[in-house]
Symmetry: C2
């Protein structure tokens, strides 16, 4: 592979990770991938550091390479409600703010030390406009994301706290390695005390 854009010489493993991610849905030539790569910037965040805070302008979307991020809102009583976790291979941002170009209403914070690849809204749009393939990629990604949220809504509508917990455990076992239980509670919409009781009684 020829490194045309040297200023973007990420670690080889990181690049390959991104490329593999794209190539799950589309095929890319080396040249195409190199072209795409120039729009991404690598960034590391320490545990509990923010990529976004409430009120910040949102200009980028983040692809997680390593670690884990969470996006959440704080309500009027300062309780956190988690919108999304992002493990490696996931995209995350405050999409509402990104699309409507309004200030963030969320916090985007590293749960553990994390590495992301960032792309700005404009660069992503440009990439989609220039390369039909990429527009396709992101349309399909979006469709999966949509379905995921539908599933979450359904589990909130139909399941008890316990059922939702067990579904999550089954669907994303990796999360439980990384994320404190109070965060899982804030994701499930249950108090941390209730969550704690759910699995202590379970065994």
């Amino acid at each position: 592979m020829v490194y045309t854009y040297l200023y973007n010489a990420f670690k080889c493993a990181t690049m390959q990770f991104l490329r593999d991610h794209f190539e799950k849905l589309i095929t890319l030539t080396d040249k195409e991938f190199q072209y795409i790569l120039q729009f991404f910037r690598s960034r590391r965040i320490m545990k509990k550091q923010f990529l976004l805070q409430e009120g910040d302008p949102v200009t980028q979307e983040y692809f997680v390479v390593k670690g884990c991020l969470k996006s959440y809102v704080l309500d009027s009583e300062d309780r956190s409600h988690i919108m999304q976790f992002a493990l490696p291979d996931w995209w995350i941002s405050d999409y509402q703010a990104l699309v409507t170009q309004s200030p963030s209403s969320m916090f985007l914070e590293a749960v553990v030390p994390t590495q992301v690849l960032c792309i700005t809204r404009e660069d992503k749009e440009r990439l989609c406009a220039e390369m039909h393939k990429m527009e396709h990629f992101f349309r399909i990604k979006n469709a999966y994301g949509y379905i995921g949220l539908q599933r979450r809504i359904l589990s909130m509508l139909t399941g008890s706290a316990k059922e939702r917990y067990e579904q999550l455990l089954q669907q994303y076992p990796d999360l439980f390695q990384v994320v404190p239980k109070q965060d899982l509670a804030a994701f499930l919409g249950v108090s941390r005390e209730t969550l704690s009781r759910l699995y202590s009684k379970n065994k």
Copy 2:
């Protein structure tokens, strides 16, 4: 406008409605629109008729021209949980099933007499592959849909039954003209009795 594809001579108003819908995000020539149109089929459904039932194969996506549809699941106690309503200008299907090409786990039912335009999965994919514009259109549509679901999740996480009800009332006042209250309850994740009490006490 030249009617190249006569077998698709929908009522002029219907065609224009679809065209306006696309042209909110992209621009189309008459010829392009005529080409697109050939992939759509018009269909009318009576109140309480099904477009999909649990177990059906899901081959199509539906664009509502007139009326109102709801998609919902039935749980083990035969309680219905509503995933989505679709008023005119909205798309609806069992997306999970459509994308994964598995049998429907939902019912798709007309709340009132309804007219839709149907497109098959294959035709939509073909349209997206052939016309970059259309791929763009659906990517952006998807992105808005995603944001909408995020908002719904947030309101389920942060709000009381009453707050959720009021948010819905404010965001989609049209729904309340058309949809029985028990369906609104099934959408909000509240019992119909509780919902009834919410607004009787309100006044």
